[in-house]
């Protein structure tokens, strides 16, 4: 079977941006097309990953809008929403479009415009994904993180500092990412003394609110060399869904969607956790890096914190995690994040990650929606 190749990738500056959603999406889209030397009207499919442009900005129909702005008419277009994993879900849709033969050239753009809203408003927009039984109590995504972190530390006898070390590591990686919202290191003491947000988690355990976008260009591997000398292939991709109500899961420290989506992706790729050289995980909250690294099979259940503690996941460790700086320092423009994760793996596999470069032939991206409600795992390999 002809595999799906990623022959172009781009991402905008993440952070507080002047532009609104249409401009942000078009910026990443234009850059991606220009890098591959093609025009908008060469596209057959165009997907837009976005969680909530209607709620944040009052602009719906963004897929149609950006298709026009990129002169991609009459390409088929659709907006993909899967909350925080909209980006990963967009990768899945774009991959499907090419793998099925429905499209020979597909552009995916993920983006979100958030910073014009207050923290309370943005938190509420995101919390609106919760079940009414959760929403009425004022449950937010950060509060799920606090609940889960307390349980994890209790259940596995892990020190509070182990969570802080995720933030320290990812901020250190972000220093070398020119697109990251925060390009500065933080020390353990700063994280441990930052204000409480959802006890036991503190400000530096959380990603910021961010504007930005990222894009990927996909085609069948058999024609990849027409667009790029260096490319990456998607060798496995899986999506899975867990309960809508978070407290119903048997073990609060296990993300079933991570386990199930990665099982599909590993099987499709014919690879296992030990074959992965570099990974981008959805560290919207520091605790999520532990849950994902365990759910993906990198480490035993309850042992993920030790790997961070021992430097295994550092950039120069055996399994570098979040070389981009992660959502933690790069920022988390909801619909863009899953696309930007794949952007980073693409850069690593094509040898174009600059100072962040690690030795990698195989990479994995895990994008989490809600609090593990929907998960997409993508496995990529360097193109031949």
């Amino acid at each position: 079977m002809d595999r799906v190749a990623i022959v172009g990738a781009s991402m905008t500056q993440f952070g507080q941006r002047e532009g609104w959603i249409r401009e942000l999406l078009a910026e990443a889209g234009r850059d991606c097309l220009a890098n591959a030397g093609i025009d908008g009207d060469d596209l057959e499919h165009l997907y837009v990953s976005n969680m909530a442009s209607g709620e944040f900005e009052g602009q719906t129909g963004v897929a149609n809008a950006v298709a026009h702005d990129l002169d991609a008419l009459p390409a088929y277009t659709a907006r993909i929403d899967q909350t925080s994993s909209s980006g990963g879900a967009g990768v899945h849709s774009a991959w499907q479009s090419v793998a099925s033969g429905a499209s020979d050239l597909t552009l995916l753009i993920g983006g979100e415009k958030m910073t014009h809203r207050s923290t309370a408003e943005a938190t509420d927009v995101i919390a609106s994904l919760t079940h009414p039984a959760e929403y009425k109590h004022g449950v937010t995504l950060p509060s799920f993180a606090g609940l889960t972190a307390r349980r994890y530390l209790h259940q596995y006898d892990a020190p509070r500092e182990s969570l802080a070390k995720v933030a320290v590591k990812n901020h250190k990686n972000g220093v070398d990412n020119p697109h990251a919202q925060f390009q500065k290191e933080v020390d353990l003491e700063t994280v441990m003394e930052s204000p409480i947000v959802a006890d036991p988690l503190r400000l530096y355990d959380f990603c910021p609110i961010t504007d930005g976008s990222a894009a990927l260009l996909m085609c069948p591997e058999s024609v990849a060399s027409e667009y790029a000398d260096e490319y990456a292939v998607i060798s496995g991709i899986g999506g899975a869904t867990d309960t809508h109500v978070v407290h119903e899961r048997a073990d609060p420290t296990v993300m079933g969607g991570v386990v199930d989506s990665s099982t599909i992706a590993y099987e499709q790729a014919g690879l296992g956790p030990d074959d992965i050289d570099v990974a981008e995980l959805h560290d919207m909250f520091t605790i999520l890096e532990f849950l994902q690294s365990e759910g993906l099979g990198f480490f035993e259940q309850g042992e993920g914190w030790k790997a961070v503690d021992e430097g295994v996941t550092d950039r120069d460790g055996d399994l570098p995690i979040n070389t981009s700086g992660g959502l933690k320092s790069k920022g988390h423009p909801l619909g863009a994040s899953g696309v930007a994760q794949v952007y980073e793996i693409y850069k690593q596999l094509t040898g174009t990650a600059g100072p962040r470069q690690v030795d990698a032939e195989t990479g994995l991206a895990c994008n989490v929606g809600g609090f593990g409600n929907c998960v997409i795992t993508t496995i990529m390999e360097a193109g031949q």
């Binding site: 709620e55 923290t119 309370a120 408003e121 938190t123 509420d124 927009v125 919390a127 609106s128 079940h131 009414p132 039984a133 959760e134 929403y135 009425k136 109590h137 004022g138 449950v139 937010t140 950060p142 509060s143 606090g146 609940l147 889960t148 972190a149 307390r150 349980r151 209790h154 204000p195 409480i196 947000v197 959802a198 006890d199 036991p200 988690l201 109500v245 978070v246 407290h247 119903e248 609060p252």
Partner: protein, 134 residues
């Protein structure tokens, strides 16, 4: 030993804390149209009559519009006829620890329905908080 801590007060106008029991014996809160075995509920169970144990808790300080600040929250576990069922809800205090016993206490309005993004008519806003068991 039964975890049932009081009998339902027929005179009370407090609504039940309604969980659903399914044909395979499992109980879910809130009730879902279909249970883990894909079948419809066979009966409702009022969890407000039972005590629960704290599985985990947090105090959230970054709360959305219309939500109290700070907002103490817990995931708790009830045992009903030998079957475990969990619930999430506000705590009346942060003076709790994992493993503590708590009991449901009714609150007519858990957050201001008019302040958030969700349509006030789309759902109910009353419910049960948890307080340390007496």
């Amino acid at each position: 030993m039964s975890d049932r801590q009081k009998t339902h007060d027929a005179e009370s106008d407090e609504p039940p804390m309604e969980a659903a029991r399914y044909p395979d014996g499992s109980i879910l809160y809130p009730a879902h149209p279909l249970g883990p075995d894909g079948q419809e509920p066979v009966e409702m169970v009022d969890l407000s009559e039972y005590r629960a144990t704290v599985v985990t808790w947090t105090t959230s300080t970054a709360t959305p519009p219309g939500v109290r600040e700070p907002n103490h929250l817990a995931i708790v576990e009830f045992t009903v006829d030998g079957e475990s069922v969990r619930a999430i809800g506000q705590l009346t205090t942060d003076e709790v620890a994992i493993g503590d016993a708590v009991e449901p206490v009714y609150a007519p309005e858990l957050r201001d329905p008019d302040a958030g993004i969700r349509d006030p008519e789309s759902q109910s806003w009353d419910g049960y908080r948890f307080r340390p068991a007496e």
